[in-house]
Amino acid sequence: MEGEAAAAKPKGRLCVICNQKRAALKRPKTLEQICRECFYAVFEEEIHRVIVDNQLFKPSERVAIGASGGKDSTVLAYVLSELNRRHNYGLDLFLLSVDEGITGYRDDSLETVKRNEIQYGLPLKVVSYKELYGWTMDEIVKLIGMKNNCTFCGVFRRQALDRGAALLKVDKLVTGHNADDIAETVLLNILRGDIARLSRCTSITTGEDGPIPRCKPFKYTYEKEIVMYAYFKKLDYFSTECIYSPNAYRGFAREFIKDLERIRPRAILDIIKSGEDFRISTSTKMPEQGNCERCGYISSQKWCKACVLLEGLNRGLPKLGIGRTRGANHETSKSIKQRNGTTDSIQSKQCGSLDF
């Protein structure tokens, strides 16, 4: 019966590329029906093209891959090491992970990254909140509760990645942000009225003026294809929600993007195109970037956000730097308020991800 069932399986439609094998998926980008092997080929080739056309890397550069153990960064690590070999990019690739110190979540996902280290033969560097800031997220949550903890996590992670990248002495940091993520960010910036971020959020490379530029090779890659690729290739990735924001999935905007994709898959790329094409006058610039007086990290304020938050934690005033607060450090909290004071409920991809 077993053999019969297998033989009985429909042959289905044939792949439009090779015309030989049974199609395994419908590409959201082109609506083509293609088989697994052809999918691997076009998926990898497209990312190669993005890398070449945008000149993301130069030969012999050291590149860190921000690795969370999730689907995007796992596929990115796999594909990038594959392309590096195939097309002789001549890159030194590293995995860079952040250990937030969340028992039952990050320790598990770090195990995934450690397996990736062996599977893909990429050296791994883990930087932890504990060693950088003296606090684990477990400890922070114990102090401040379940509210606002994502603010701490997000601010700390962004800086932790830069610190880790500096320790690895890399020239670039790549992150696994995919087309869905970027489309979502475009929408969120419109909904929030953040014209400065709106003008920057579709750039494939950011922070070129800073110490370590970041780039997003998956900028035009659909989340669906990333997940399909990981599934077909049986890549080892971790997909559990963060225990501290179990329901924080994504808000309205993500839901909207997915609804849109169902009606018109190409809308995701159209949103990115709109984001690139918006006529934004160059006079709307970001505030002058300086350095944090305390830790030296890039900051437009006297102190960087991480230092303000940390100061609050260490002084037992964890509300410092979050929303509208009146802590002892009035001056600092005021300046932070201006940038981050709006308690906005529409949130983007919060946890387990690498912040923009």
Binding site: V186, L187, N189, I190, L191, R192, G193, D194, I195, L198, N247, A248, Y249, G251, F252, E255, F256, D259, L260, I263, R264, R266, A267, L269, D270, I271, K273, S274, G275, E276, D277, F278, R279, I280, S281, T284, K319, G323, R324, T325, R326, T343, S345, I346, Q347
Partner: protein, 467 residues
């Protein structure tokens, strides 16, 4: 909450608590988007006087609308005015838009596009009130130097693309005639024009041609958008045929907020800024949006307050992506009543196009206006080149890098060449993919469009012709 004890500070803390509450509520909403626990927010945040007599925040004489009628008891600031102050406030926004952008000048003959809905109903009402005031001033002035602008009304009869029973349709048009005849004096002419009139008179069956054209579009959203583009052509044609100098649309902030997302999702980020300004003079007859700063909620309230009659029979229904966006914005608006305004403001920061200002007029103020504009030119010298080209279908300005260069030969263009002169969005959602069908599609297209797009080759040249 932000402070542990309620009495640590008197004024600020209350606000903080509310803010935190709101945050919690919206977080809950993120988890279960189908539920809308917003009654709690409005109960806590808006008015801190539970008793029913709250005075208008402006005149401080009359009771606010919130206290007189539960109907207006909304979360926004609107209900804190009394009826009179609300009305004059709303009219003030309209008047400010008109005066500060020189939307209507005394020598104008304006055509108000009336769909039967609340927005265009208010537009019609306000234009009428303005005309009435101008008339009074005219009669009072000694020299009677400034003429009073003329007003006409147009309704585009879209029964060829709408599924409304004929009887109901005819009844609605009768109602509409009644509405317009009641908005007098001065009397206003109502033009009821079927969409198919965009085709030249000699074409045999315009309605069939129209249907064939629209049915050739396979995408639901594309079809809806095409009807919208054709509606603009109808308006343009009526305005030209009857000598109107401006077309007034009732487009309000809320509609613009939806349009911002619609355009973004369709990849029209470049041309978006063209559609949402007070003035859109890329057309032969400039289009003006004097209600640009009014929320649909406000317009609805005014219609309610003043018993302005509207007609529901033609109420536009959206499909496809446009419908999805309408419900998305509704959801966002419920979560935060100022979201529409925020979206509108974001898009307002985009750089407009050259044609988003009024072309030179012949009236007395023109000299001053010219100087003002000259100044703007000096500020952005690079803006004066290169000339824009426009989509053959929707007339959206095209991004230079998106336009495939092709040699413009005299005579007829092949369908493929014309396709390359359409925006990406129309190429995807409007134009048929099959080349042979495409040729047929372009042949069905109203001739007017062909002629009119010729002007678009140079915007400077267009401005010349407009004068």
């Amino acid at each position: 909450m932000s402070c542990n004890s309620q009495n640590c500070c008197q004024s600020g803390c209350y606000k903080d608590t509310i803010l935190d509450d709101r945050e919690e509520v919206s977080l809950a909403l993120t988890n279960a988007p189908n539920e809308m626990p917003f009654n709690s927010v409005s109960a806590g945040s808006g008015r801190n006087h539970p008793e029913n007599s709250v005075l208008c925040v402006k005149c401080k004489l009359n009771e606010s609308m919130a206290s007189t009628s539960a109907e207006y008891n909304t979360d926004s600031d609107i209900s804190r005015f009394c009826g009179n102050c609300f009305r004059s406030n709303l009219y003030g926004k309209f008047r400010l838009a008109v005066s500060s952008n020189a939307l209507i000048s005394p020598s104008d003959n304006v055509l108000v596009a009336f769909s039967g809905g609340t927005s265009s109903r208010v537009a019609l009402q306000f234009v009428h009130e303005m005309q009435l005031k101008a008339l009074k001033n005219f009669e009072a002035s000694r020299d009677r130097s400034l003429p009073v602008f003329g007003v006409g009304v147009v309704f585009i009869d879209e029964r060829s693309s709408l599924a409304v029973p004929t009887l109901e349709f005819d009844k609605a048009i009768e109602d509409m005639k009644l509405i317009v005849s009641n908005i007098a004096p001065p009397a206003k002419k109502l033009h009821v024009v079927p969409t198919e009139d965009i085709f030249p008179l000699d074409s045999i069956d315009g309605r069939e041609r129209f249907k064939e054209l629209v049915d050739a579009v396979h995408d639901d959203t594309g079809r809806e958008d095409l009807v919208k583009y054709l509606r603009m052509l109808s308006l343009q044609k009526v305005a030209q045929d009857y000598g109107y100098s401006k077309i007034v649309l009732g487009t309000c902030t809320s509609r613009i907020a939806c349009h911002v997302l619609e355009a973004t999702v369709k990849g029209q980020g470049y041309s978006l800024a063209a559609d949402i300004q007070y003035v859109d003079a890329r057309w032969k007859i400039p289009v003006i949006l004097p209600l640009r700063d009014c929320l649909s909620q406000e317009l609805n309230i005014l219609c309610n307050l003043d018993s302005l009659k509207t007609i529901d029979a033609f109420k536009g229904h959206h499909s496809g992506i446009n419908a999805l966006i309408t419900s998305f914005v509704k959801l966002l608006q419920a979560e935060n009543p100022s979201r529409e305004s925020t979206i509108f403001r974001t898009a307002g920061k985009l750089t407009p196009f050259r044609f988003n200002r009024m072309p030179e007029a012949d009236d007395l103020n023109s000299k001053l206006a010219t100087q003002r504009r000259q100044k703007k030119y000096n500020l952005k010298p690079n803006e004066s080149l290169p000339p824009e080209s426009f989509c053959r279908i929707c007339n959206a300005p095209l991004k230079l890098s998106d336009v495939k260069s092709c040699n413009l030969e005299n005579g007829t263009l092949s369908a493929e060449v014309i396709r390359d002169k359409c925006c990406m969005s129309c190429q995807f959602q409007v134009l048929p993919k099959d080349t042979s069908v495409l040729e047929q599609f372009f042949s069905l297209f109203p001739q007017q469009m062909e002629v009119q797009t010729e002007y678009n080759s140079s915007s400077e040249e267009r401005l010349q012709t407009l004068r």
